[in-house]
Amino acid sequence: MSKHQQPRISRRTAARMLRGAPVIVPDALVDLLAAAVAPPRDGELVGEQAATTAFLEAAHRDTVLQPRSPSMIKSMLAKALTVKIAAIAAAIFTVGGVATAAVTGHLPLPSNSSSTGASTSSHAANTSVTLTTTPGSRTSSAHQGSPSPSLVGLCHAYIAGAGSDHGKALQNPAFTALITSAGGKTKVDAYCAALIKAKHSESSATQGAGSPAAGTAPGNSAGGHEASTDHPTGPPTTQHTGAPTTHPTGAPDPHPTGAPATHAPH
């Protein structure tokens, strides 16, 4: 049991470790590193409520202060991209990912295998999307045109939490706005179902409408030199009134194309 038999830490060891490959290290170091990544203890999650409150406030502020900011389209695109990435990640994980990870302990890196994972992502996309948006299946009269996104967020939060403790969830002060909007605690279920349904149809509509058709028409690129002749023809109209015959070169014939533009303001 001599300590001299201990395997040495080499550069290769470090490089392999950084790749997630198996490494041979001394027992004591294994214990130390295992302790460093031991499962979380209670105390390590104490800030959850504070962080969540900040999250809800931020979500509320975002939607109240800038409901129709120009960055909305950008964030929508970003979200679409995120869904795609989520789908790829999910695909990698579902397609043999679990088995691979279990056997080798090595998670396939998304950056390496995203191209191969994409071909099988359609199935995973469904799971990841349905995971995140599981509104109540109850149908109710949804006549709201555009529900406040923060209320939708609260609804999602409520529905997500309702499974575990239905009654208690609404006692959380975070839901006060939701209860007020719904018109009472008992109406939250139906209200949220309607709200999310409305939001769904709205967001799918806006995503469809967001197709790139907003390019500025470059049309007049060839009209550059015509425009330069346009300018002198503008003032000359007043000069022409003074002496139409003294300007033989300024005859109307050479400027037939520029004519409509100069006439328009008159």
């Binding site: 470790m17 027992d27 130390l32 295992a34 499962p39 979380p40 504070a50 962080a51 999910a90 998670l107």
Partner: protein
Amino acid sequence: MMSRITRWGRPQRMGDVLESVPKRADPLPPVTPADSDVAAAIVAAQRGDEHAFRVLYRAVQPNLCRYLRVLVGQDAEDVASEAWLQIARDLRSFSGDASGFRGWTATIARRRALDHLRKARRRPAVALPTEWFPEHAAGQDAAAAAIETMSTDAALALIASLPPDQAEAVVLAVVMGMDAKAAGAILGKRPGAVRTAVYRGLRTLAQRVDGRV
């Protein structure tokens, strides 16, 4: 033989890590969710889903806090709270997958930690551990304490006792599960420099826990 073949560097699969150390069975089950769950939670949280945000918090916070422990010692929880305020505020602007999210949160936490250190004007890796770790009580050798109890705190204290650049590289690689490129992006270093820092850090750690150097 006193050595084992172990895999590190992707501790998202904490089950694997623990399998190599069965005697260290913890009463709390690992709550670290799969990457696909994290990715789905990112999308949902960006829509304002509170439950999804909690999933993200639980997925990231423990390791993030351990990273911060190595950076700022006993102030880790405070700095983590500040970091989470920013994460909560800026979450909508994030775009990426689970490992991208870990990197993003680590970058935010690191920035907060450096701000904190700048304010405090001290290097906690040198300044603190004694009162912060119960196991590391007066006069007791950190390495000995780590071997005897091998608590997470003691392990982090040992890592934090390394030179700062090595400590940070080791904790990013081992605890945050980053590869050289991802860790390098956070540290502003080339992957090769990260590998070297991890190598030196591990070598020193191995000597300290084994040879009591």
